[in-house]
C-alpha cells in the first residue's frame, strides 16, 4: 500500500468516527438527560462496612463544579463506583457527565447516566 493510501485510509477512518460521534449523544439517552462538563470537587463513597437496604441501590454522591455552579450527581453503576473507589476518577479531575433529574422519595436527584473522565491527554 502506498504512503498516500495509508494516510488517506487513516483520515477516512477518523472522519468516519467523527461522523458517528453526534449519534452517540443518545447513549443511554432519554430526552430529559442533562449533559455537562465539570471538575470533581468532592466524592462521597458509600460506607463499605454499612449494609445497604435491600430496596436501596448502592450509590456515591459526587459534587461537580459545572460552569461555576456546584452540582451533586448520584452515581450508581458498578464500573463508575469502582473507578471512584480505586481513584481512577479523583477530586480535581475533569469529567463529562450525563444525568437524569428524577424525584425519589420526594427528593430531587441528579442520577448519572454516564460519568467519565474527559478523554484526551
Amino acid at each position: 500500500m502506498t504512503s498516500k493510501r495509508v494516510l488517506a485510509a487513516g483520515l477516512l477512518a477518523a472522519a468516519a468516527v467523527f461522523a458517528g460521534a453526534p449519534g452517540l449523544r443518545a447513549a443511554g439517552g432519554a430526552e430529559k438527560t442533562v449533559k455537562a462538563v465539570g471538575t470533581v470537587l468532592e466524592v462521597r463513597l458509600p460506607d463499605p462496612a454499612a449494609k445497604p437496604a435491600a430496596d436501596k441501590p448502592v450509590e456515591a454522591v459526587v459534587t461537580v463544579l459545572v460552569r461555576g455552579k456546584k452540582v451533586e450527581v448520584v452515581v450508581r453503576d458498578e464500573l463508575t463506583l469502582k473507578k471512584l473507589r480505586i481513584k481512577k476518577i479523583n477530586v480535581e479531575d475533569e469529567v463529562r457527565v450525563q444525568y437524569r433529574v428524577v424525584t425519589e422519595d420526594g427528593v430531587e436527584k441528579n442520577v448519572a447516566v454516564t460519568f467519565r473522565r474527559s478523554a484526551g491527554c
Partner: protein, 476 residues
C-alpha cells in the same frame, strides 16, 4: 515536504480550525466568573527522582571491526578477539518535574522536564557503548532525557490539549507529546497509566513532537473505547533545494483502545514512519532509506484479591515491515552499501515479529510487588524505541530473547503529597541475542552464532548481556 507530510499537517490545521468552531457553540453562554475560592486548583506540580545502580556485563564474540576508513578501495579493519565487556558499577540520577495547568474549561497544558545523568559525568560517555543502534555515541531528539546525558534539564513533554470539542468526547492536542514509556512497561516501572494517552511500548518508545486528534465515544458495551490519529515529526531536513534529499521524517499512527476498565485493557495500533533517516536525526543525515510500518496491540488484565494480593498480566504482540526505497547509507562500499534492513543488492521488503508477555503480583499487606517478563524479537524486528528505560539497549527491540525479574518494595509512609510514593526496586535482565544490530535499522541482521571471525561489522556484536539493577525512587 512530501505530499503525505503536507496532508498530515493540513489535517492538523483543519482540526484546529474546527476546534475554533466547536468553541463557538458556547458563544453567548459566558457566565460570570465563579466566586474566588470556588475554583479547584488550576495548577498541579509533581515530579520524581530516581537514583539507580547498574551492574552490566556483556559478551562479544570474535569479529572484524570496520574502522570507517579506506586505503584505496580496501576498507580498514581490525580483527578483534572475543571478550567480556562490563561496567560493574554505574550510578545514575534522573529528576523529573511535571507541571499540569488548567488554562480554561477543557483546555490543559502539560510539561515534563527531565534531567538524567551518570554520576561523575556531564555527558553520555558512560552509557553510550556503541554496541546497539539506540546507544551509539549519540543522544538525539527521540531519546534525549530518557538516557543518561548530563545535568541539563531538558523538555521531555510540552503540549496543550483541548477536550470536549463540539460538546463531544473529542480532543485535539499538539506539542511535544507523551509517546514514551507506554503500556505495558508502566507495570514494571510501577506507574499508573490508563486512558487514551501514550503508545504501546512494543511499537514506539520515542519522544515525539506532534499532534493528536482523538475521540472517545460512549458505548455502554465497550467502556473506555477511544480512537486517535497521531502525527509526529522525527527529523526536519531544514532548507533544501527542490528535489534534494534528505526529506523530513514523519510518523503517522492510528490507535484504538477497544475496551478499558480498571481491570482490563485491549488496544491495537498501526504506525507508519515515512522517509526513515539513514542515521540518527541531526546534521549527519544524508538520505532517506524507505518506510517502516508497525501493527501491534496489548492485552492487559488484573485479577484482584487472588490470594494475598492482585495479579496483573499482559500480552503484547507486533509486526514490523521494512519497505526500503533503494537508497543506501553511504559507508563507502558503493553498491555494497547497506540499506533499510538490507545489504548490497538484496533490498526487498522484510517483516519482523515481536512478542512481549509478563506479569506482576502485588502483595497487599507488605506492599511488595514481584514481576517477571519475557520478550522475543525475530531477525527483522525493528522497534522505534530509543527512549526505552533500559541501560544496555531497548529490550523490546532485541532480536533474540530477553528475560527480566524484579521486586519492588514500597515504603508504607503516609503521603504528604497527593501522588507521594517511595519505593526500592531490585531487578535482573538477561539478553540473549540471536541476530546482530538490535534496535538498528541499517543493514541486514546476521545470525550471531554463524558469524565468522573475518566477517566485518559496523558495530561490535553482543551475543549475551545482563544487567543487575537497583533503584531508589521518590514520586510526588
Amino acid at each position: 515536504m512530501k505530499t503525505e507530510g503536507r496532508l498530515a499537517v493540513a489535517a492538523g490545521l483543519l482540526a484546529a480550525a474546527l476546534m475554533g468552531l466547536g468553541g463557538g457553540a458556547w458563544a453567548g453562554e459566558e457566565e460570570a466568573a465563579p466566586a474566588r475560592g470556588a475554583f479547584p486548583s488550576w495548577f498541579e506540580f509533581g515530579g520524581d527522582l530516581r537514583v539507580r545502580h547498574d551492574s552490566l556485563m556483556g559478551k562479544v564474540p570474535t569479529y572484524t571491526q570496520f574502522l570507517g576508513t579506506f586505503t584505496g578501495a580496501a576498507p580498514n579493519t581490525q580483527a578483534r578477539g572475543s571478550r567480556t565487556v562490563h561496567n560493574d558499577s554505574l550510578l545514575t540520577n534522573r529528576l523529573g518535574l511535571n507541571f499540569h495547568i488548567k488554562a480554561a474549561e477543557s483546555v490543559t497544558l502539560t510539561t515534563r522536564l527531565l534531567m538524567y545523568k551518570a554520576f561523575g559525568m556531564a555527558d553520555a560517555g558512560a552509557t553510550q557503548g556503541g554496541y546497539f543502534g539506540d546507544r551509539t555515541n549519540t543522544v538525539f531528539d527521540g531519546s534525549v532525557g530518557h538516557v543518561p546525558a548530563g545535568n541539563t534539564l531538558v523538555v521531555d513533554q510540552a503540549y496543550a490539549t483541548v477536550n470536549n470539542l463540539f460538546d463531544q468526547p473529542v480532543w485535539f492536542s499538539a506539542g511535544r507529546r507523551p509517546s514514551s514509556g507506554g503500556i505495558p512497561v508502566n507495570i514494571r516501572d510501577n506507574r499508573e497509566l490508563s486512558g487514551a494517552s501514550g503508545t504501546p511500548a512494543l511499537l514506539v518508545d520515542y519522544a515525539f513532537d506532534g499532534m493528536t486528534l482523538g475521540v472517545a465515544p460512549d458505548y455502554e458495551a465497550l467502556p473506555g473505547l477511544s480512537g486517535k490519529l497521531c502525527y509526529g515529526r522525527g527529523y526536519d531536513s531544514g532548507y533544501l533545494a527542490t528535489g534534494v534529499t534528505p526529506r523530513d521524517t514523519d510518523m503517522l499512527g492510528l490507535g484504538l483502545v477497544v475496551y478499558e476498565t480498571p481491570d482490563a485493557r485491549i488496544e491495537a495500533q498501526y504506525d507508519r514512519g515515512f522517509n526513515i533517516f539513514d542515521t540518527f536525526p541531526g546534521p549527519n543525515v544524508r538520505t532517506n532509506l524507505g518506510s517502516l510500518e508497525w501493527w501491534g496491540g496489548n492485552l492487559v488484565g488484573t485479577l484482584r484479591e487472588l490470594g494475598p494480593g492482585d495479579l496483573t498480566g499482559f500480552l503484547s504482540g507486533a509486526t514490523s515491515v521494512a519497505l526500503p526505497n533503494g537508497n543506501r547509507y553511504n559507508a563507502g562500499f558503493g553498491t555494497g552499501n547497506p540499506g533499510l534492513l538490507c545489504d548490497g543488492s538484496d533490498c526487498v521488503a522484510r517483516q519482523g515479529y515481536a512478542l512481549y508477555l509478563g506479569g506482576r503480583y502485588d502483595l497487599a499487606r507488605t506492599k511488595t510487588k514481584l514481576g517477571a517478563e519475557f520478550n522475543h524479537g525475530t531477525k527483522n524486528w525493528v522497534a522505534f524505541g530509543p527512549a526505552a528505560d533500559d541501560m544496555w539497549t531497548n529490550k523490546l527491540g532485541t532480536r533474540g530473547n530477553v528475560y527480566e525479574l524484579y521486586a519492588i518494595q514500597e515504603l508504607p509512609r503516609l503521603k504528604a503529597a497527593p501522588k507521594g510514593q517511595v519505593f526500592f526496586k531490585l531487578g535482573w535482565q538477561y539478553y540473549d541475542f540471536d541476530y546482530t544490530g538490535s534496535n538498528g535499522w541499517v543493514g541486514e541482521p546476521k545470525k550471531i552464532a554463524s558469524l565468522t571471525p573475518a566477517q566485518m561489522q559496523f558495530q561490535a556484536p553482543v551475543s549475551s548481556a545482563y544487567d543487575i539493577y537497583t533503584t531508589f525512587e521518590v514520586r510526588f
